[in-house]
């Protein structure tokens, strides 16, 4: 992805329309509240999170064995298995499967992995048309914009804006913004897509090593429509999607939809195991940085992620900056800890797009210590030289000041003196604090000075 602006600049842009920020923040906070209610109604919620975290810890510690087991069972079930090291290899595999069958059109349900791989663009360049069938992703595709949220791809768009888009692209009447009517229009278009496409690609939520089946969770049933009507069914999954046994779904399916949107379970939790007679099933296992992440002990826990998006909904920075300001397919707190592993230079700003408030770690259904990892990524980014020189310079000056009581006391005095006597030196447009905030009152002596005079009088 090419972009020149960092998160802070994109977020500032987003904040120019405060009404929109309030509305975006409110919509996502409402989902956070739904999540809280669902969690509170579930017996042993915290124990479930603990269990999910432990199962995933086992998976990432034994990933090699589980992947081999999964592959063997897939093959037994008649599914063709491919291994892709990176996006390029993944896209080539999908293309070769389609080309082999002379297929020019494909329907795709929601898959963040294929978004990350830029599969649609790759196939379109080679003459294959891809339609996203998840409603939110469909809307984003029409608008030629990436998803802003992994579960709610167009949460940043108002219904009126979607009405405009549909008017321009699908020929609906101008000014139509009723969500039900708009959804019906999209459904009509998509039904035609489902009926005419011979190939369907889905993502994977859970891949069961024990049986070789995989589970796809949707609310819209779009993955099922695509898969059931296709001659060629393709699934793309990241290596970390494995769970050891089918019974573990009892833990994850209870957590996923509750964490994501406060719903007890997704409407469709579909198990795919064997091709129908005459149908082909292909499954692509994609590394794309996962094994690098596995090799980073401080960060490997992020492979536990089940992509529920709860950390985004709870994150005040995400809610008030919008998913697109993260300039990465996966935005929000989880995106900020996954992205630097893929390209540290490109994503060096993301771990800093957080106050380290820790709410993300508390809602995470698999207990990834997200805010601790944000802190650790900051250290990595600086250590490897991806921090601006002037920041390093000011940090060194700060370290010098704070390591000497004498310099520190003088600096404190000078700072307070300046604020009192020459406020223009501090209260100006070069000081981002001062743009929308006044400086603290500095008319008093410091506590240290007070204590030197009065300390002995106190008892």
């Amino acid at each position: 992805m090419k972009n020149t602006l960092d998160h802070a600049a994109l977020a500032e842009e987003f904040n120019k329309d405060e009404d929109r920020v309030d509305w975006h923040d409110g919509a996502l906070w409402w989902i956070r509240q739904k999540r809280d209610r669902a969690a509170n109604q579930t017996p042993q919620w915290e124990e479930l999170r603990e269990a999910a975290s432990a199962i995933k810890a086992n998976v990432i510690s034994n990933l090699h064995d589980y992947l081999i087991q999964f592959e063997e069972n897939l093959k037994k079930n008649g599914v063709k298995v491919y291994w892709a090291a990176d996006a390029e290899e993944h896209n080539q595999i999908v293309y070769s499967i389609l080309k082999d069958k002379d297929i020019k059109q494909m329907v795709k349900s929601k898959s963040m992995l294929t978004e990350e791989c830029h599969l649609n663009e790759y196939l379109e360049e080679r003459g294959i048309e891809v339609i996203n069938s998840d409603l939110g992703e469909y809307i984003q595709q029409i608008d030629n914009e990436p998803p802003s949220h992994i579960v709610l791809p167009c949460i940043h768009k108002r219904k009126e804006e979607i009405g405009e888009l549909f008017h321009d692209h699908l020929g609906t009447e101008k000014g139509l913004s009723d969500p039900t009517l708009l959804t019906r229009v999209a459904r009509k278009h998509l039904n035609n897509v489902f009926l005419t496409r011979r190939a369907a690609l889905t993502g994977v939520n859970f891949a069961v090593a024990e049986t070789g089946e995989y589970v796809v969770c949707t609310n819209e049933g779009n993955a099922d429509m695509g898969a059931h009507l296709s001659d060629v069914q393709i699934a793309s999954m990241g290596l970390e999607k494995i769970i050891p046994e089918r019974k573990h779904l009892g833990v994850f399916l209870r957590l996923l939809a509750r964490s994501a949107i406060g719903q007890p379970i997704t409407i469709y939790s579909s198990h795919y195991k064997k091709p129908r007679p005459g149908q082909e099933m292909h499954l692509i296992l994609v590394d794309k940085g996962r094994s690098d992440l596995l090799a980073r002990p401080d960060f490997r826990d992020s492979l536990k992620c089940i992509k529920c998006g709860a950390c985004m909904n709870t994150c005040p920075v995400y809610r008030k900056s919008g998913g697109l300001s993260y300039h990465n397919t996966i935005s929000g707190p989880i995106g900020a800890i996954l992205a630097p592993n893929l390209d540290m230079k490109q994503h060096a700003d993301l771990p800093f797009a957080s106050t380290l408030c820790g709410s993300c770690s508390n809602v995470c259904p698999v207990k990834i210590p997200i805010h601790d990892q944000l802190y650790k990524w900051r250290q990595e980014i600086v250590r490897l030289g991806y921090s601006a020189n002037r920041k390093t310079f000011s940090m060194k000056a700060m370290a010098l000041t704070l390591s000497s009581p004498e310099i520190y006391n003088t600096a404190g005095k000078t700072g307070r003196w300046l604020l009192n006597n020459a406020p223009f030196a501090i209260n100006n447009k070069f000081n981002p604090w001062y743009k929308q905030r006044d400086m603290p009152d500095s008319s008093q002596q410091s506590f240290g000075e007070w204590y030197a005079k009065n300390g002995s009088k106190t008892k």
Partner: protein
């Protein structure tokens, strides 16, 4: 009981009254309090910016200042959390380990160590509590709204002992104010928006004062309140707890 009083750098320079209140309150409750004069900062501003490796001399200085006390107490949850999580030194790791175990934020020191049950304080105002994130999710000064777990709140427990004080509620009990250390500069737009929204939650629920165990959050909100000429004030919790009793 000998207490080392840790007054974080920005509190020392900009909020001396909160520091004085902390000192007086601890003395009122019978503790022997010493303020080591050569203290500066816990090193958090550098560490949170990714420069933890530059905090070594800060850490050494901290250990030099605060070794040998029964407890170390500070009126700032964020700084205490940083010391608890990150204070290490090449020169005297044994002393650093001791300090990490003995350092307390003021509120938790009053409720968990001194276990106070009453206070002679009077503050006849409507007060909203701002849960600082580091106090809440780091030091567990209160139950976190994300978890399914029994409710408690140490700041609330103390403020309920204050005569005349009326606690006001807020809709988002423990949302971050957007200060976030250097975040407040680097991500100015989001930081200010977060602060404005926190303040609005307090003001629409009738707070005259916003209080907290963390002055950094309050400093940020004060800057916004002041700029917008609001009558709502910020006050560190120590100043409320140390307020004078009603004269008989």
């Amino acid at each position: 009981m000998k207490i080392g009083l840790f007054i974080p750098c920005y509190v020392n320079q900009l909020y001396p009254n909160a520091a004085i209140a902390t000192l007086e309150l601890l003395q009122k409750l019978g503790a022997e309090v010493v303020y080591p004069a050569r203290q500066t900062c816990c090193g958090q501003p550098m560490a949170n910016s990714g420069y933890e490796h530059l905090t070594q001399s800060c850490n050494d200085l901290f250990v030099e200042n605060f070794s040998g006390f029964d407890y170390i107490v500070a009126p700032s949850a964020s700084c205490v959390l940083h010391v608890k999580d990150h204070l290490h030194t090449h020169t005297n790791e044994k002393a650093a380990t001791e300090i990490r175990g003995k350092i307390y934020e003021l509120v938790e020191f009053l409720t968990d160590i001194l276990k106070i049950e009453k206070l002679d304080a009077h503050f006849p105002h409507k007060v909203g509590i701002h849960q600082s994130c580091h106090g809440l999710r780091g030091l567990h000064l209160a139950q976190m709204s994300e978890l399914v777990a029994p409710a408690f709140s140490k700041p609330r427990q103390l403020l309920k002992m204050v005569n005349g004080l009326e606690l006001t509620e807020i809709e988002r009990a423990d949302e971050c104010c957007g200060f976030g250390g250097l975040f407040c500069i680097a991500e100015e737009a989001v930081s200010v928006k977060m602060g404005k929204d926190r303040i609005a939650d307090h003001t629409k629920n009738g707070a005259e004062y916003i209080t907290s165990p963390d002055l950094s959050c309050l400093m940020h909100m004060e800057g916004i309140l002041h700029r917008n000429k609001s009558n709502v004030k910020i006050i560190h919790i120590a100043e409320i707890l140390n307020s004078s009793p009603i004269k008989a």
